[in-house]
Each structure stands twice: as structure tokens, then as C-alpha cells.
């Protein structure tokens, strides 16, 4: 169910996916189309100094980067487990060589062997002209952390990728698409640039939909101060893929708790692209309004939606990192909330509403980075007649191919469809499923394009979407 016409009528610019169709024929080794980041002449004077400064500063920490600069044994295990290298085993996609982009410069300036032996030991001088390659290479890593799962030392190349992107961001070389999303999100608190009015209109539309569908008045409360649960959906889950929001509303309705939760017309998109551009200041600035809004609403629980990286930023970074001190609320994910009520038998389903074979795709940020793997399965098994698994799964699942923000970049669509998404396409095809549930807006967008591009008959959606169709009111 997409409500594009309805959204257009309330003045919401709904993101079109022009490139999602079967546009170009598959290429064997598609080149990354250039994100057109020519380095401005005026910049080159201080630029080298700034880049080298950022890299040599790693010597003082954080510990994780310092270790990764100093102790890769170059065994090549990461390459066998990387979705991008699997898709196309080219040198530029080898995780070790990508990390070497800055490791070689760190070696040159900060290690004894690098200072003495230089290029003989893989140390390199920085050249401004290399930055274009940095952009291409760092934006062809999906940040899925699969390498870290299998590396004998647990080296997480996504941390290095993020560092490279952070340096690029500092000198203004972040790809335009990403820049635009960050800017929009910081200005409007959502990545679509939608206004509170548009949000309210969309919610009213969803409530009408539910009356039409079930003949029952299921509420989606907005801006209720004092509601226990503050629901933060991922980007697009109200405007483009609204079924999950309806599903959660139905859960609250069945539990008789419609007056206990609320959404916010100021903060309705948990996406945080600062995580992807490597800019910590942006990441925190994007995060802060949500924490303040939860305080203003006097919520006891911040209920995060089906968005892997949004939940990760809140739960694994902001909360333990105490960005804003101690919090007066808990942070849980909506799938944990719903699954708990399914386990306690408070919700009932008509599985025949979802007869098709359904497979769950573990988003990297939920599976590997937050350890949420069983809850979505509990929900899908309760609401679908034919639930299937793809292998490997959970912590070892392959990335969809659109992680770390790549999903939003249609200028590298060819790369995403034919290289980074190749393994996932195989995995999904092997299950015979006709619906892929992914608890993540980035995965959903990328997988939707992947399924269309390769002309499969597979639909892509969320977890609460399936619940929404089968739950008994």
C-alpha cells in the first residue's frame, strides 16, 4: 500500500524512485558512477594538512581505530565475507585495500617501520588527487560489519570506512545526495523534508484507512504529553510505507492502550545520516531533538521503529555514551514490545491473511549491531502461514547491499543492483519466498529496487506490515 496520491494531495513530496525500474541492462563489472566530487582549486592548500592531521590524530585514539591502523595481519578472510567483494572481486573492493587508504598514511607518519622503510612496508604519502578515489571507495562499503564477525582479530572495517567518510565530510567531499539528506534532516528533523501539517494529514489518512479496512476506529495519537510510549518511526514509514505504523497502532488498540502512546508531529523520522557521513557533530545534532522531544512529552519509553541504524544510534551510541546525560526514559524497539505481547498471548492473528511464503532479512544494524534477531521472527511466525529462513542468517546474515546510506544513493544504482546486492538476491531467490520482510527503511528501499531491477515477483516490506494484515482487532 503506497499512498502517493494521498500524500501528493496534502502537499508532501514523496520520494520517487525513478531508477528502481528495469532501466539498464545488467553489466558484468559496473563502474561506480562518479559522485562528481571534483576538488576545488582554492581548497588544495590546506587540504593535505587537514587530511594528514586527521589521520595522524588517530595515534591518540579512539583505541579502536588506533588498533586497526596497527595490527591487520592481511590474511584476506574479510574479502571472502564481504558482500561487495563477493559481488565483484576487484582490488578496489577488497576491504583491506580500502582500509589501507588511510592506514598507509598513518603508517607513513606514525609507525617506526613506515618512517624508515616507506613504501616498502606499505606506507604512503598523501596525495590530494587520491581523494576522488576515497569518495568512490568509502561509498562502496555498506558498513555491514560482516568482516568483523569473521576476522580472527575482530577488525571492523566499517569503523575505518566511517573515518574516511568523516575526513571527506570535513573537507566538503561528501556525495551530494548524502549532504542533501543530512541538511534536510537537520533543518526539518526528518529526511523527507515534510512539515508537521503534512505529517498530521498523513496520520489522519492512515486512521481513515483503518476505519475503511476494519470498521474499527484505531487511534494514532499525536503530540500527547504524558503518554508513556513515544513512538519514533523510521524515515518514510509514515509517508511511503505506512503499513508498519498502522500495525503498531493496532497492537496498542488490541491491548487497550491507545491512550498510552503517542507520535510527535515535530519528530517523526529516526533516521540519522550523520552516522553514514562520519560526522559526529551532525549525528548528535540530528539526535538531540528526539531526546528533547521525549523529555517534553514526559514519556517513560522511547519506542523505536523498524529502522536499524536509528535504533543503533539511540541504543548503542547515544544511551551508553551519555551524549545528553542520564535519560528519564528507557529505549526499546517496537519489535521487542510487540513480540513480548505475542509471547504472553495477548494478541491474536489470522495467518490465512498472509498465505504467501515470507522470509525475514536481518538488517545488519539490528542483527549484528544490536542483537535483535528473535523478536521479528516471533512476530512473523505469529502472523504468516509460511515463514522461511534464508541462510546464513541472524548475526551472520549478508547485507542487503544498501547499508551505510548507500540505499539512498541512486547515482550508484548499477553498483548496488549488480555488485553489493548480488549475494542477497541469490539468498532471497533460494528461499522461494514472495515477500521479504526487512525491519529497516534502508534495506526496504534497496531490496525493493533489487527485486524490481532483477524482475523477480518478490514484494518487500516491513515486519509490522505483515502483523497489520493478520492481527485480529
Amino acid at each position: 500500500m503506497t499512498n502517493k496520491s494521498a500524500m501528493a494531495s496534502v502537499g508532501v513530496a514523496v520520494e520517487d524512485k525513478p531508477a528502481a525500474g528495469p532501466t539498464a541492462p545488467p553489466q558484468k563489472t559496473p563502474a561506480l558512477s562518479s559522485p562528481s566530487n571534483k576538488i576545488p582549486e582554492s581548497m588544495t592548500d590546506n587540504l593535505a594538512e587537514e587530511v594528514i592531521g586527521a589521520i595522524t590524530a588517530i595515534e591518540g585514539g579512539p583505541r579502536v581505530l588506533k588498533l586497526y591502523m596497527e595490527m591487520c595481519a592481511r590474511c584476506g578472510t574479510c574479502a571472502t565475507q564481504c558482500p561487495v567483494y563477493f559481488g565483484s572481486p576487484e582490488k578496489k573492493f577488497n576491504p583491506v585495500l580500502r582500509s589501507d587508504l588511510i592506514r598507509s598514511i598513518y603508517k607513513r607518519h606514525k609507525t617506526t617501520s613506515g618512517k624508515i622503510f616507506g613504501s616498502l612496508v606499505g606506507a604512503k604519502d598523501f596525495r590530494t588527487a587520491d581523494l576522488e578515489k576515497w569518495v568512490q571507495d568509502s561509498y562502496s562499503c555498506t558498513g555491514c560489519r560482516r568482516c568483523a564477525t569473521f576476522c580472527p582479530f575482530g577488525i571492523d572495517n566499517s569503523v575505518i570506512t566511517r573515518k574516511i567518510r568523516g575526513i571527506l565530510d570535513k573537507v566538503g567531499l561528501t556525495p551530494e545526495t548524502m549532504k542533501r539528506v543530512v541538511k534536510t534532516s537537520l533543518r526539518t528533523r526528518n529526511t523527507d523534508g515534510a512539515s508537521p501539517e503534512a505529517f498530521k494529514a498523513a496520520i489522519a489518512f492512515l486512521e481513515e484507512e483503518m476505519v475503511d479496512e476494519h470498521g474499527v476506529d484505531v487511534k494514532i495519537p499525536i503530540d500527547v504529553v504524558g503518554a508513556d510510549y513515544f513512538y519514533v518511526p523510521p524515515s518514510g514509514d509514515v509517508l511511503v510505507n505506512p503499513e508498519a505504523t498502522m500495525g503498531l497502532a493496532k497492537v496498542f488498540h488490541v491491548l487497550g492502550m491507545s491512550d498510552k502512546w503517542t507520535m510527535s508531529s515535530a519528530c517523526f523520522d529516526g533516521a540519522n545520516y550523520g552516522l553514514f557521513t562520519g560526522n559526529d557533530a551532525d549525528m548528535k545534532a540530528d539526535n538531540k531533538p528526539y531526546v528533547e522531544e521525549a523529555k517534553r512529552l514526559r514519556s517513560k519509553v522511547m519506542l523505536m521503529g523498524e529502522c536499524g541504524h536509528a535504533y543503533r544510534v539511540m541504543k548503542m551510541m547515544m544511551e551508553p555514551g551519555k551524549w545528553w546525560g542520564d535519560l528519564p526514559f528507557k529505549i526499546i524497539n517496537c519489535m521487542q514490545w510487540t513480540a513480548e505481547h505475542i509471547v504472553n498471548e495477548r494478541l491474536q492473528f489470522d495467518k490465512s491473511k498472509n498465505p504467501e511464503p515470507v522470509v525475514y532479512h536481518d538488517p545488519c544494524n539490528f542483527g549484528r549491531s544490536c542483537g535483535i534477531t528473535e523478536e521479528p521472527r516471533i512476530i512473523l511466525q505469529a502472523s504468516c502461514a509460511d515463514f522461511r529462513e534464508m541462510y546464513p542468517n541472524r548475526g551472520e546474515n549478508w547485507c542487503c547491499g544498501g547499508g551505510a546510506g548507500l540505499s539512498a544513493m541512486d547515482d550508484i544504482l548499477e553498483f548496488r543492483m549488480n555488485v553489493s546486492g548480488k549475494k542477497k538476491l541469490e539468498q532471497i531467490r533460494d528461499t522461494g519466498a514472495t515477500y521479504v520482510a526487512a525491519a529497516c527503511s534502508n534495506c526496504k528501499r534497496h531490496l525493493g529496487q533489487l527485486m524490481d531491477y532483477h524482475k523477480t515477483n518478490v514484494a518487500v516490506g516491513g515486519v509490522h506490515d505483515m502483523l497489520s494484515r493478520a492481527i485480529l482487532l
Partner: protein
């Protein structure tokens, strides 16, 4: 020639051992003092961090799941290396022999056990070392990330293994000679070892030990730090 022997057998040991201890301590210290990053737990992560890091260090389960062939080579290489390392204690002191004799073994029995276990380990190490080198050259994904230091480090280890094997298999080696030498170093009245193959083996080993804190072989200490980062809940 005597000068070279003097440097290898007398000077270098006094340099290498403190340099190694200082180098490793320095590296550990710089890692330890650099600030803790944000939590970066990699799931599934359950139970005790200590136990998981220990398991990774002793059995390489991540590598086992990631690259079975490399696990086989790497685990047996490291496990054999650890055995050989323990076996080398006998080179420097007669204390082990005395303990084993006290436990009822005959000197002949000890020698036999040593030649069998040590001999097998020496051959196994050499075979795996060469296979690792072959892997570096043969597999594109490994070849393209291989630099001169990677090849040199493996070659150095292989040559050390070869000289060690030659010592074991060429002629009966007189352990008394090396024990006297080790004791003389400890009492700061050093004598120069005479066996030239031993001196070569010793020289190369010392080069390796000296380079550990400054090379990728550093991973034998770093693994505790990196694994803790992703296992810590």
C-alpha cells in the same frame, strides 16, 4: 668471525630481550591509555567477555566460520608453534629434565619423547609455513593485499624453522652446551656458543623477536584488545 659470534651469542641477547619487553609494553601501554570508544558490541555476544576473548585467542572460532582452510593452517601453525616454544625451555635449562626424571622418566625416554614430538612439530611447522606462503601467492584476494613485509615475515619464520630442523635432524645436538651458555648469560659472565648452525638459528630468531613489536606479528598481543572491543557488551 669471532666478532660475529660474539655479537650474536653475547651482545644481541642482552639487547633483544629488553628491547622486546620494552617494545611490547610500550605498544600495550599506548593502546591501553588511548580513550575507550563508544560501545561497539558485535552480536551474537553472550555471557562472559573474558571467556569469549579467551576462546578467540585459543581456538580462532571466528576464523573457523569465516575461512575453514585458513583456520586449519593458522590454528595448527600457532598451536605447534606454542608447543615448540614450550619445548625450547629444555634448550635453556636442565630443570625440566630433572622434573621429568623425578617423575620417573629415564633420560633416554626424555630424549626420545623430545625427538619424536619436537621432530614432528618441526616438520609440521615447516609444511604449514610453506603452505601459508603458497596461499599468499596463489589466492588473488590474498595476493593483492600482500606486501613485502608479509612475505619477509613468513620467509623469516620459515628459515628459522629450517635452521631449527637442521639442528634437530643433522647430528645429535648437545643441549648441555646451550644450557651452559644460557646460565652464563644470566650470571653476566657470558660464554660464546660454538655450534654455527645454532648461532644462525639464534641470530634469525633474535631478528624476529626484535621486530615483533614493530611488525604485524604484533597481533599476538593486539588480539586481546581488538577482540575485547567487539565482545564487550
Amino acid at each position: 668471525m669471532n666478532t660475529v659470534k660474539f655479537i650474536v651469542g653475547v651482545i644481541l641477547p642482552y639487547v633483544v630481550v629488553p628491547a622486546f619487553v620494552a617494545g611490547m609494553s610500550y605498544r600495550f601501554w599506548t593502546w591501553f591509555k588511548s580513550p575507550q570508544p563508544a560501545k561497539m558490541t558485535l552480536f551474537p555476544a553472550g555471557g562472559s567477555t573474558f571467556r569469549e576473548v579467551l576462546a578467540e585467542t585459543l581456538l580462532f572460532p571466528s576464523l573457523f566460520r569465516g575461512d575453514r582452510v585458513l583456520w586449519f593452517l593458522a590454528w595448527f601453525f600457532h598451536a605447534t608453534l606454542a608447543l615448540v616454544f614450550l619445548g625450547h625451555i629444555r634448550v635453556f635449562t636442565g630443570a625440566i629434565d630433572r622434573m621429568l626424571e623425578a617423575a620417573g622418566m629415564s633420560p633416554k625416554g626424555i630424549d626420545l619423547m623430545s625427538s619424536l614430538a619436537g621432530g614432528a612439530a618441526g616438520i609440521l611447522l615447516l609444511a604449514i609455513g610453506l603452505l601459508l606462503l603458497l596461499r599468499r601467492i596463489a589466492l588473488p584476494r590474498v595476493r593483492e593485499i600482500t606486501g613485502i613485509p608479509d612475505v619477509l615475515a613468513t620467509l623469516l619464520v620459515v628459515v628459522i624453522i629450517v635452521t631449527g630442523d637442521l639442528l634437530r635432524f643433522s647430528a645429535p645436538f648437545d643441549l648441555e652446551q646451550t644450557r651452559v651458555w644460557a646460565a652464563s648469560l644470566l650470571s653476566f659472565s657470558p660464554v660464546i656458543p660454538k655450534n654455527e648452525m645454532f648461532l644462525l638459528h639464534l641470530a634469525l630468531s633474535q631478528v624476529l623477536i626484535l621486530f615483533i613489536p614493530f611488525s604485524k606479528i604484533l597481533h599476538f598481543g593486539g588480539i586481546f584488545f581488538t577482540q575485547t572491543l567487539i565482545k564487550r557488551r
